[in-house]
Every structure is written in C-alpha cells, then in structure tokens.
C-alpha cells in the first residue's frame, strides 16, 4: 500500500471519528482529486439521507400514482393495527419501567409502572385517538376516543380498582382473589376474568355494558338503594337516567329493570363479536343510531366538529360498519342512501344540511 493511500485512509478514519481539522479535510480532498474511487468512497461515507427529500418524494409518488393502482388498494381492507397480544405480553415481561411502544400514530402500549407517586394514574385519549394498554396483571384495555381511565396505586397487588370515563374494551386476566372493580358515573362493574365492553361517556347519560365472555356483576347505585345484576355472555345492559325500554330478554327482569331505568337487551352478536366492540378492530359501527348520535360518534372518531343544521335530519337512523380513513368518506356513503343529506366542510367543522 502506497504512502499517500495510507495517509488517505488515516484521514478517512479521522473523518468518521469526527475530529478532522479544516486543513486535514482540505488535504483529504487534494489527495482524492481526480481519483474516482477515493471520491466515491468519501461521498458514500459522508452521504446521509435527507428526510425532507424522502417526504417530498413520497408526496410526488402518491400524487403521480396511476388510478388503477389506487383502486387496487382500496379493495384490500386496511390491516388491523392491533398487534398480537401474546407478543405484547412478552414485551411486557421484559420491560422494567414504563414502556411505550408506538406501533402506529394512534395506538400505544402502556405498562403501568410502580414508580409513579400519585395515588391514581391517569391514561386518557383525545378525540380521534385510541390507545391499547396492558396493565400489570395482564389485563388488556382498549381505550376508545375521548376517554379516561384512572387506576389506583397498588393495582394488581392489593386490589384491582379503576374508574372509567368514556368507552373501554376490557379483557381481564383471571384472578379469583382480586376481583376487578370498574367504577363509572353510576355503576360499578365487578369482574373476575372476562371480556366486555363498557361505554360510559359523561354526556350520553347512559352506561352500556356488553358482555362477551365470562361473568360480570353490575352494581347500580340508584339514590338510596343499590341493585346488583348478574350478566351472562351476550347480554347488554344499558343504564340511563331516562326511562328507556328495549327488547328485554327476560320478562321478570324487565319489570325490575324498568324501575331502575335500566334496559336489558341481548347484544347484537356478529361473528362472535359484539358490534359494540368492533371499534377495537378499527371499525366504526352504527347500530340503528340517529344522525345526532352518529354526529357525536363521528366527531369523536375523526376529531371533527359536526353540526347538524336541519333539525328534521336529527332523527334519521342508520346502521352500518365503516373502516374509512376520512370522515367525509363515511358521510359520502350516508349520502348515497338517497335521504336528502348533504354536507359542507369548513376547516375542521362539518355542516350537515
């Protein structure tokens, strides 16, 4: 190896080490002048990918993409963003403190740590955001839009207590010694090991519990007396302040429930899944909901302000399952029902008229 080459490599090493002086880098360029191999090598070592260039390229790519490819894509359903829970479990056991794995912009995985000082730990979601978390005992929770879960300190060791505002889907790890207690604004749900969906948005005035597996006991705190209801798989119980009656599955229960302003229905089970919990699979479901209820749900899901301008539209009801990326795509589908619905998009607000 020649002397200049040795010197060239010496300077290259300094370049990588980051302690090359200005004079030395000039010397390096002088040594490489006219030598395409040396120049290419330097160029390779100093090249870095500019992310803004990549972003620009991606925008151009999407912009110039031929239509036949775009159509092909929409036929293939979007892959579910929820990852395999057993894999999560493995990660959880490795994690020492808080581990947050972001596997998409909206899903997070939390491990509730012991290090927090507060008595209550809060996990909340914003509009248009959903989170997935695994608690210390292995219980898995999917938190829907605009919801808040409070977990009391010492969870999994001395007790399993939490409070929910909003909607959550729970897959509870079995532990007969420590029943899981979830407090909502007017119910307490006691669980030993089960899968269920609990919806308790503050503004909806009702708490809906849908049971998928196992057994759940509901405690209703109604004024000066409390009632307990045992739920079986497939049952759905809706507790509201207003007197709402739905198809009661059991006549004797119906009487009891009406007094408490509770409605007790069989949940709509589809492919072993209750439609109430399809949001876990990234699906937005309307099950005979009125447009005003849909507006609230859509707003939460896509983080949009939706205003219905014509009052006569409010009570139109719709059923359907959606997996659309944009709020306007859902509305476009609703438009196709031939009911006279139209919408206008201004900033982040959608006006339906």
């Amino acid at each position: 190896m020649s002397n200049t080459e040795e010197h060239y490599l010496f300077l290259i090493n300094k370049l990588l080490h980051g302690d090359i002086t200005k004079a030395e880098s000039e010397e390096l360029m002088r040594l490489s002048e006219g030598d395409i191999v040396r120049l290419s090598f330097i160029k390779y070592l100093t090249s870095s990918v500019d992310t803004s260039d990549l972003l620009e390229a991606e925008i151009v790519y999407e912009k110039t993409k031929p239509n036949d490819l775009i159509q092909e894509e929409t036929i293939i359903p979007a892959p579910s963003k929820i990852i395999n829970s057993s894999r999560l479990y493995k990660i959880a056991s490795i994690a020492a403190a808080i581990v947050i794995v972001a596997f998409s912009s909206i899903y997070y995985f939390y491990y509730v740590s012991e290090s927090a000082n507060d008595d209550w730990q809060y996990i909340s979601t914003n509009r248009g955001e959903r989170k997935f978390l695994t608690l210390k005992d292995g219980t898995e929770v999917w938190l829907n839009n605009e919801s808040e879960l409070k977990v009391l300190k010492g969870y999994g060791e001395e007790h399993r207590r939490m409070e929910l505002k909003g909607e959550g889907y729970f897959s509870v790890a079995k532990n007969p010694k420590l029943p899981l207690l979830i407090h909502t604004k007017d119910t307490e749900v006691k669980v030993i090991g089960t899968v269920f969906n609990l919806s308790a948005y503050p503004e909806s005035g009702a708490t809906t519990t849908s049971l998928i597996e196992g057994k759940v006991s509901l405690k209703i705190e109604g004024g000066n007396h409390t009632k307990e209801i045992i739920m079986n798989p497939g049952d759905q119980v809706r507790i509201s302040k207003a007197n709402i009656e739905k198809n009661a599955a059991d006549l004797s229960l119906k009487e009891l429930i009406l007094k408490e302003a509770v409605s007790y229905t069989k949940a709509d089970v589809k492919d072993d899944k209750v439609s109430d919990m399809l949001w876990v699979d990234n699906k937005l479901v309307f099950n005979n909901l009125t447009l005003s209820e849909i507006a609230v749900k859509l707003g939460r899901w896509y983080n949009k302000e939706i205003i219905i301008q014509k009052d006569e539209l409010r009570d139109l009801s719709f059923s359907g399952t959606f997996q659309e990326k944009e709020c306007t795509q859902v509305l476009d589908i609703l438009k196709k029902t031939n009911l006279k619905i139209n919408y206008q998009l201004k900033n982040d607000t959608i006006y339906i008229h």
Partner: protein, 180 residues
Amino acid sequence: MILTTLSSENKSKIALKRDEAIFKSYFIKNYKVYEKYAFGILNDRFLAEDVASEIIWKIWHLGEDLMHVANVEQYILKSIKNKCLNMMRVRKPIFVENQDLLDYADNSLNPEKLMIESQAVARIQQAISELPEKTKQAFLLVKEEKMTYKEAAESMNISPKTVDRHIQNAVKKLFNFLKS
C-alpha cells in the same frame, strides 16, 4: 445524493411479481436525484418534477419488459434527458429565480458520475455484508446511526478503543474491495 441501484432481485420482483412496495421504495430513495438531474436541463421545478416522476413510473409500467433493461439507472437517466430535450424544443425561454438555481447548483449531476457513484455504493454495500459481525455492527452504528465512537462503544458494550479498531479495519477492507 447518491443513486441506489436496483438489484436484479428487486427488478424481477417489480417486473414479474408486481411488488408495488419495492417500486415505491426505489422511487422514494432516488426521486430527488432524478429530479435534480432533470432540473439541471430544464431549469424549471415543476417540469422537472413531471418529467422525473413520469419516467420513474415508466419503470413500473414496463411490466415484464423491465427484465430486458440491463441497467435501470442508465435507462432512467437517458429517458429523462431525451424527454427534457424534447420539452426544450417546444418551450419558450423562461425566467428563473436566482434562489431556485442555488438549490440545484450541484455540478456532480452528470450521468456518468451518478452511475459510477451508485455502482460504488452497491459494491460497498456488498463488502459491508461480508465484514466480520462486530466490525460491521460498529461501522453501521457510526455511519448509519450517526453515533459517536463513544456512543457506539456503550451500545455494543465494548471500549471506544475497540470501536476505533473496528472502524479502521472496516474502512481498510471496504476501500480495498472498492479499489479491486
């Protein structure tokens, strides 16, 4: 700005298996180089974008015929040049903002140089894959992850001196491979 060569394996995936993901990744990695090359001829950002994107998409639309293209980069560069020259023939002279020019004042954009560099990189990448495991790891941490020797040492749980030795070793081997 270095062109990434399309390996023959990926070429057949695009041509025969119609793997859009591989095509997309090739498009994104190289778009900017081709765009700058087109701009160097046209002096017009929007036209350069049109030409570059259209020609790269041509690779996708060739379908099975892509297999007959021996050197994809050369083919794209040549097509861009022809397309640009055709455009110049029909176009009126235009005024170009100074500021636009500065950004693109990259004299390294001659096709021959681009080709040589991209082939050099492909060779280096092959050589990297043949480095001893630890040496490769240290080199990639410093080169791709932009770590300092100290950070790389901590992440590999070895001393900074050892990292230095690995890097020296890697540089020497890669350079000799490139030269040969």
